[in-house]
Symmetry: C2
Subunit: 338 residues, 2 copies
């Protein structure tokens, strides 16, 4: 099949050691010899076997990326930036989808380790494995960076988006526009939703708003979330509670709300203002363009890649937590209360 270093050595009339040195450029090789070797490599179409190399070198120049799901609109941006940064630094990325399942997560990580990968980036990993210390133990064995919302609960290498900043900014923005009846839309159990709900409740209380309304739309894949939200919010609209603004926990829910309004002939932002969260691709694509909270996924992706490369190259496993503020991005889905 493919030529090996032995074939190259034979053809060039030198030893395999010399071929190796010529390829890796880490020991002196006579120019003349080098030429013969390069010629042989060219003729044989030789490509070094990375598997054999990494067996000795104990490095594969590759990083495993864990995501809960591939179709989640949340991830393309961050994964793309991770990939770009890794590739630019001579690394390769293997993408693993865990379905948010803690067991799957462990299997996947076993696989990553047994393949001698150099590091792991886990995006929004399961609470279970965070809580039971699995990731903490793991971080002693292999460089790992975890990307998720900000909490003080865990130690280790985390890159976090602090949703608090952006969420408060969003609520204040709505307030400033004159909105006093703000609906909060969330999904099932998730740290991120709980955090935001607390902020919402506090906000209602501290501003002495008389109106508080929390709608939960369950969970599911992207489509399901949009549809369920639309359905539930349509019902809500029929209740005539006359809320004037909606704070949705992510862009998909915000879109669900927008679609419900369209069906009910309610105009956005004239009649109802809507704020989403995540600043996914979607928020720029739909009409009206969505005012949303930017998680800075691109920056975070780049940073995660840079940090993991740093840990790999320095062989130092430090514990570091880097927090990115989130920021409200104002587009066209909010307006002044009439």
């Amino acid at each position: 099949m493919g030529a090996t270093i032995h074939d190259v050595a034979k053809r060039a009339g030198v030893s395999i050691a010399t071929v190796s040195r010529a390829i890796n450029n880490n020991y002196p090789v006579k120019a003349e010899t080098r030429e013969k070797i390069e010629k042989a490599i060219e003729e044989l179409g030789y490509v070094p076997n990375e598997i054999a190399r990494s067996l000795i070198l104990k490095t594969t120049s590759s990083v495993g990326i864990l995501v809960p799901g591939i179709t989640n609109l949340f991830f393309p941006t961050i994964v793309e930036e991770i990939n770009r940064t890794l590739v630019n630094n001579g690394f390769t990325m293997s993408l693993y989808s865990t379905d948010g399942n803690p067991i799957m997560e462990k299997n996947v990580i076993d696989n990553i380790i047994s393949r001698n990968m150099d590091g792991i980036i886990a995006i929004d990993p399961s609470m279970e494995n965070l809580d039971n210390g699995y990731f903490k133990d793991l971080s002693k064995k292999i460089p790992i960076i975890i990307i998720n919302g900000n909490t003080n609960k865990y130690k280790g290498n985390f890159i976090c988006y602090d949703e608090e900043v952006g969420s408060i900014e969003a609520l204040q923005y709505l307030f400033k526009l004159g909105h006093r009846k703000i609906v909060f839309v969330r999904g099932d159990r998730s740290l991120s939703y709980d955090l935001k709900e607390n902020l919402y409740r506090q906000f209602v209380k501290s501003n002495n708003l008389k109106y508080e309304k929390i709608i939960s739309v369950g969970m599911g894949n992207s489509l399901e979330v949009v549809e369920k939200t639309r359905e539930i919010f349509e019902k809500f609209l029929h209740s005539k509670e006359n809320a004037t603004a909606v704070f949705a926990c992510n862009d998909l829910m915000a879109v669900g709300v927008i679609n419900a309004c369209k069906n009910a002939q309610i105009q956005i932002p004239q009649d109802i203002s809507v704020i989403g969260c995540d600043n996914t691709l979607l928020s720029n694509i739909i009409h009206p363009k969505l005012t949303t909270i930017d998680l800075k996924m691109d920056e975070i992706g780049r940073k995660a890649a840079v940090e993991i490369i740093d840990m790999i190259e320095k062989k130092s496993i430090v514990n570091k937590k880097i927090v990115y503020d989130t920021k409200l991005v104002i587009r066209d889905s909010c307006g002044e209360k009439k």
Copy 2:
């Protein structure tokens, strides 16, 4: 660092060969011995080194997936299905983004080969490498399946979506609804756009329509495509040509058209009907839901994975072309001409 088979052997008081046999279950091992070995494995937290295994076995149970770009809405569905199928069969997936760049494509493939991966699935690879025979040569070295639009130009293992079927269906659908002034919206150079444009022209001619209008919106990432299309189509709307339907070459362009109409206070589907192509997530999410051509990306993804696994396991590199028909999915963006 991690325990090796030698450590296990020592601890269990047997030879490494016996440990290997116990793990792989391919030779008889006494129950008693097996127990000792399993105990040692457990105690040491031993995980076999896949790198060492694959050096001998020449297989890594992994498949490299090539995509032009990660943020393309076209891919999540297909990649997810590929991944699911591979994982269910004990394989692992490495995702590589090539930016549609032929050189990058070659580099990536060198990397895949040098890592002893067992196969390749290339989604919409570059025309250059298809034309210059690179993929054909490659297919002699490693199992590879190429997913793209249907053309008779290439030989090898292809899984294709035949856009012709769905495109004609779409045009006929618009015709049946009474539309005679149909605008065709496309992007820059791509086989797929050319194919559709030809079909459109033929359709106009054979139905003796007096109206033919082709709009090209250039190229770019998802957002750029939506925005450019919106911009260009808004201008078109001002031209007062009074077209009543739009056939867009993909969902992003269709959304651009829809957004343009919304800005111009033109209602969909009452005033203008719009058809997209690809049946991406987006088409179900936007409002009104988009009537579009389904490329059956989920089926294709599954099939590609099944076929590559088959080739890998049978070690037979056959040449096979599987064509999937595309199909119009009718949702809410088209209506009868008033």
